[in-house]
């Protein structure tokens, strides 16, 4: 009740506003026949209980997927799990609510006072990350509907060159940084806008969305999980968290015999080979190189901050207020009246130009204060990526790369070692 009070006051104020400004061109009739005004039916939204059922389903399917991937080691089970998630989170819940998009709700709530995050969105953000920290990316394996639809359509995996993979793997970092920047400046939800499969889940969307989704699925037949690998911004977080996972899926159920049968099993290039050949390089030399690369990290961070700070005014064009203000400015400069609907709406609203330009200024300021952090994040991730390329670790077994592995279980059948559970 206390929480709703401001809104009640707001509505009362609206009513007051109405009393003053209502266009009472025609007075309300007084019916002689005793006709009563009909009442409107206000269909209520989905009960909030359902959102918590979604959370329960999320937790349940994460537990089942973890069990299937780590304990039962059943690829078939994981596929059925994908089918379930695709059916429930995808087609039944129509792709909304999803953990991928919840990143934006969290950043919007963190950096803005007006918005309080729905509890379910916060849970959808944290729970998969917690599981990732404990058991690796099991969320990707069988719970995420976006991952599921790609997992099921990836029939003919083709390996792509390593440098292409490494290059494209940096795209999600940029995507994440921009998505957080845009959400926290209240500009737009980039991830939701370019969600590729939501149109397929709803069987109804703008055609551009459907084409994008269909193209990704077609590409995904050969280059498996293209969205997860080269776009998914939430995957970046899962990737980072999963690297520190306590337990993780293993290729072999027992001791690895280095038979090399699994070497080409992974379509995501996420299997780290064991080094049977010792590196001839001297340890001191590689240590020096490591230090050198390490010193480069702050350089990259500063460069990133500098770059994005200077890009901030152009990036702020995603904000509708900034776009409107710029349109008005060009209108003033050229003297040609704009035919945009936003401009017409602005002129009707009675807002003054000074107010609009001040608003634009404040949005750009927010971009300028947020963008350097995005740049630092990008610089540091780039630097760490470079370092990890140069590090050589000694391994006596084949094991999954904890960051890249989706725990999909494709490698299970390649391992000749079988253990009766």
């Amino acid at each position: 009740m206390k929480k709703a009070l401001p809104y009640i006051i707001f509505i009362l104020l609206l009513g007051w506003h109405l009393a003053i400004f209502a266009q009472d061109r025609f007075p309300r009739p007084e019916f002689e026949t005793g006709h009563v005004y009909p009442t409107n039916q206000y269909a209520s939204p989905r009960a909030p209980v359902w959102e918590y059922i979604d959370v329960a389903v999320l937790i349940g399917s994460l537990i089942v997927t973890t069990w299937l991937a780590l304990k039962k080691r059943s690829r078939r089970g994981l596929i059925w799990m994908s089918v379930f998630s695709l059916a429930y989170f995808g087609f039944y819940r129509e792709g909304c609510i999803c953990a991928v998009g919840s990143v934006q709700n969290v950043s919007l709530a963190l950096f803005n006072t007006g918005y309080s995050i729905p509890l379910s969105a916060l849970l959808f953000f944290t729970i998969p990350l917690l599981f990732s920290l404990a058991y690796g990316r099991v969320f990707c394996a069988g719970v995420c509907p976006l991952g599921a639809i790609q997992e099921l359509s990836g029939i003919k995996p083709v390996k792509i060159p390593k440098y292409v993979e490494l290059f494209l793997a940096f795209v999600p970092f940029i995507y994440l940084a921009l998505a957080i920047l845009f959400a926290s400046t209240k500009s737009q939800f980039l991830i939701c806008r370019y969600d590729p499969f939501v149109g397929i889940f709803r069987l109804d969307a703008p055609y551009t969305m459907v084409i994008f989704g269909a193209l990704l699925l077609l590409a995904g037949i050969f280059v498996n999980r293209p969205y997860c690998r080269f776009l998914c911004p939430y995957g970046v977080l899962l990737n980072i968290f999963s690297r520190f996972a306590g337990k993780h899926l293993t290729i072999t159920p027992a001791e690895c015999t280095n038979c090399r049968l699994c070497e080409h099993a992974c379509p995501y290039d996420a299997i780290l080979p064991s080094d049977t050949v010792q590196s001839k390089e001297e340890p001191t030399k590689s240590r020096k190189r490591f230090l050198l690369y390490f010193l480069f990290v702050p350089v990259f961070a500063v460069a990133g901050a500098f770059l994005l700070y200077n890009l901030a005014p152009s990036l702020s064009a995603v904000n509708s207020t900034v776009r409107l203000a710029r349109e008005i400015k060009t209108e003033q400069k050229t003297g040609i009246e704009s035919d945009l609907k936003t401009v017409a709406a602005y002129k009707e609203s009675g807002k003054t130009e000074a107010e609009l330009f001040a608003e634009e200024e404040s949005v750009i300021k927010r971009f300028q204060s947020g963008a350097p952090w995005a740049g630092i994040f990008l610089g540091i991730s780039f630097g760490i990526g470079m370092i990890s390329l140069s590090i050589k670790t000694k391994r006596s077994e084949y094991k999954p790369h904890q960051g890249k592995c989706y725990s999909c279980g494709r490698c299970f059948k390649y391992c000749p070692i079988k253990v009766k559970v």
Binding site: R28, N40, E94, C96, N105, P118, R193, E348
Partner: protein, 186 residues
């Protein structure tokens, strides 16, 4: 040799545990920061009819076809006019229910005689596609009792409402699900 290996092993373990703690921190901090800013009941999208400029983008920009945004009638504001700016096309030859005279492209408005000289207009929600032509007509020539509202049982409550993103007057915003509607006559 053995101790050497152990040293590396423990160092690696240390890095792993330290990393785990560092990475886990945001998972504690973010919910802690947001604990006061969480809303248990959730939000829905709704149009503020006083900001709406009847641009017609509700019809085309919703992810659903037909749009979840539809016309509603605030009966207590209506003048019950015979010559209704929301029902009749501009320049209609006669004031009648003939299809050629109707403004609504889908014929979603029914006109019913109440008493001389009053007529009641009701909207068939299933036929309305949210083009807002009648809302514009009513606002321009009448009391403005017809107004757009997002139908909460149809709306899929996208995280980023695609009408809100393109709404020229920023009339669509998140409101608490407990309120759900912002009708003109409440």
């Amino acid at each position: 040799m053995n101790t050497e290996k152990n040293k590396y092993q423990s160092r690696r373990d240390f890095v792993r545990i330290a990393g785990k703690i560092i990475v886990a921190m945001p998972l504690v901090i973010i919910p802690a920061l947001l604990v006061k800013k969480t809303n248990v009941k959730g939000y829905v999208w709704q149009i503020d009819p006083h900001k709406c400029t009847q641009c017609g983008q509700c019809k085309t920009n919703c992810v659903l076809t037909p749009s979840a945004s539809k016309c509603m009638h605030a009966f207590r504001m209506c003048g019950y006019c015979d010559l209704c700016g929301g029902y009749l096309r501009q320049g209609a030859k006669t004031i009648s229910t003939g299809a050629e005279n109707q403004l609504c492209p889908t014929g979603a408005i029914t006109r019913k005689f109440v008493e001389e000289p009053y007529f009641e207009y009701t909207i068939n929600r299933d036929l309305c596609d949210g083009c807002a032509k009648c809302v514009k007509g009513c606002g321009d020539f009448g009391n403005g009792s017809l107004h757009m509202q997002i139908q909460q049982d149809i709306c899929v409550n996208c995280n980023d409402c695609s009408i809100a993103r393109t709404c020229p007057s920023n009339a669509i915003s998140r409101i608490p699900a407990s309120i759900a509607y912002l009708p003109k006559d409440k």
